[in-house]
Amino acid sequence: MADPNQETHGPRRRRPFKGLLAVSFGLLFIAFYVALIATHDGSRSNDEGIDETETITSRARLAGVSEKRNDGLWKLSGDRNTPAFEWNNSMLSWQRTAFHFQPEQNWMNDPNGPLFYKGWYHFFYQYNPNAAVWGDIVWGHAVSRDLIHWVHLPIAMVADQWYDSNGVWTGSATFLPDGSIVMLYTGSTDKAVQVQNLAYPEDPNDPLLLKWVKFPGNPVLVPPPGILPKDFRDPTTAWKTSEGKWRITIGSKLNKTGISLVYDTIDFKTYEKLDTLLHRVPNTGMWECVDFYPVSKTAGNGLDTSVNGPAVKHIVKASMDDTRFDHYAVGTYFDSNGTWIPDDPTIDVGMSASLRYDYGKFYASKSFYDQNKGRRVLWSWIGESDSEASDVQKGWSSLQGIPRTVVFDTKTGKNLVQWPVEEIKSLRLSSKQFDLEVGPGSVVPVDVGSAAQLDIEAEFEINKESLEKILGNASVVAEAEEFSCEKSGGSTVRGALGPFGFSVLATESLSEQTPVYFYVAKGTDSELKTFFCTDTSRSSVANDVVKPIYGSIVPVLKGEKLTMRILVDHSIVEAFGQGGRTCITSRVYPTTAIYGAAKLFLFNNALDATVTASFTVWQMNSAFIHPYSDEAVRALSRT
């Protein structure tokens, strides 16, 4: 390597040259490294240690699948030549409900910390005090004696600490053996990290629990290693382990696998994270609002969250961020290591075929054990399906579903059954009873007077002759395997044995209507399958609202008649099939089927079958949900 020309300068000249080479290679190496770091940083956010390309492909697939799912929902009906529908205040103000929980104004989302204490049912909720869209979230609060008649209370918790300054988010309550309450909730910190915080009532002697104190040592939990700072929220009610500790679970995700983390604690202040997960299901995305509770296999009452034993199954429920569906599965809990496995892994939590509490607009649901009446009660956030411009104009957005009891279906052994709490019957006013035979292709007006606030309980029977004729007729094609409420065209598509049911919030001319119906179809095994659907596609002529057809198969056991219950309350319709085996909540925004023009119809769109309908329709009173005042509280306490 020595340059003969330089030899005259002596050996001193060689070392600097080699040095320069070494330095150059060194610089090159550093340049490589720096370039690699600089360009990888941006993509590190979600894919630690996972092959970048693989993740992007699966993201794309999921994004594509999920997009298609929601895409149809948001395509505006009509082309761009369809005139925009102009909402007026009369139409918008009709949409407000009479007996569903909603704040006086602005935005609401998830139910939080429901509980019963010193004679009062407490309900907390995600609330935006400033706008009719999500944001600036604090905990709203209301109380009731019966889960139906509510008084609003002042805001329970605001975003006033560094550990929740970006949001006081969802949480759950746990009762300690001495009857005191601890509340765990998610805070979004000043750096937008999701952490868990502890709070408790300032004055346990105040039955209204007006004021809450945050534990000065908050946060009690921060995202553990391997969990991203924005994938850690919605702690559950705690349950006792056989070792006498308290245990909670918190939903999260690892890449696209939905998971539920488990923590044990003695004092709700320090926690040990278990190495095991309660459960995990690949490709389900982030699990929000996880709920975990026992149900009795044999009895119709609810169980305290800590109950365990051979006569008990455990439910794992999660709200799927990707699809906005709540899914649950029935399974077995192993207390020794805090794990749970589903009875049927083919319909595991979050899989598209897995069970849902509700096949309509229903999310972020949360249950609590009501020790007052020994039942488990389910709350759920029912969002709007209209445009945000309408929400801003009307000044509010979102409802809660009517609280439902939840029990295990002892007859099918495979699913839960939900039913509106019985206290709702106190709203029933006058009623009319009907027994009608409805031939194929008929629509029958049901004269009940005002039809925007109704409770309908109905029993249907398909004429035996029609049934036998159709089942025996080989030319009647099996269609049950192909049918779905969502994709089979809605209530105007006529089959041999359906659709039949009620059309609610309908105009005289049926220019707007919301059919709730059964569709009975023959399967390839010649057995009948029954579907329960709500068709909102013609609920409104407005083109800036979402109008899907919702529903699912409903199990019907031998000898059972077909039954449905429908609660109509202005812009919300809640439908319960077969005693609550399949439930559908819909939001509808009619433009003319409002006020006195809203009517009720019974219909049978089947081609061949005659159907007998026996039903009662009640007018429903308002729940008169009151703004906060001492007087309103006193009035309720007397009930």
Partner: protein
């Protein structure tokens, strides 16, 4: 002399390698935009913002929401100008004004807060709604809209932004 040349060659090779590495990786933007329905639009919007080259997926979503905000303001200005030029369109313009103000005052702040705080689903709602409001405004002109190209831009940007926000779920 030879040493100087070797050094120059070293430097050139170093620079070439750095550039190659940067160009091939470079596109966090390109990789992200590949997963949207309008690659070219996505890339041009993100490249036009200086934050684009160093942003993560959240950051890219926020840049696009900024573009939505900018387009909304531009459209509102256009609407204001049209009142004088096309007074016969007042009713439709009023509706459009209301719709675009919703995007500016409700959808955009909601989306920014949701994405920054890691609850992207509310961001998705806001972004979808921006497209809905634009479409409804367009429909008000019954086929004779003076805002069609702005509407189309909003619909396209809304779709692309939504695809990126969904990557955060």
């Amino acid at each position: 002399m030879k040493m100087m040349m070797m050094m120059k060659v070293m430097m050139m090779v170093m620079v070439m390698v750095m550039v190659m590495v940067m160009v091939s990786e470079g596109s966090i933007i390109e990789q992200t935009c590949k997963e949207t329905q309008d690659f070219n639009l996505c890339v041009s919007l993100l490249n036009s913002d200086p934050r684009g080259s160093s942003a993560d997926t959240s950051g890219l979503a926020l840049i696009l929401i900024d573009k939505i905000k900018g387009l909304t303001t531009k459209t509102l200005n256009e609407i204001n100008g049209l009142y004088k030029k096309r007074p016969e369109l007042k009713r439709a313009l009023d509706e459009c004004s209301r719709r675009y103000k919703t995007i500016l005052n409700a959808d955009v702040p909601e989306a920014i807060e949701a994405i920054s705080k890691g609850v992207p689903k509310f961001g998705e709602d806001g972004v979808i709604d921006a497209g809905v409001e634009a479409s409804v405004c367009e429909g008000g002109f019954k086929g004779k809209s003076p805002l069609t190209s702005l509407t189309k831009s909003m619909q396209k940007i809304s779709n692309v932004t939504r695809a990126i926000v969904r990557m955060l779920l």
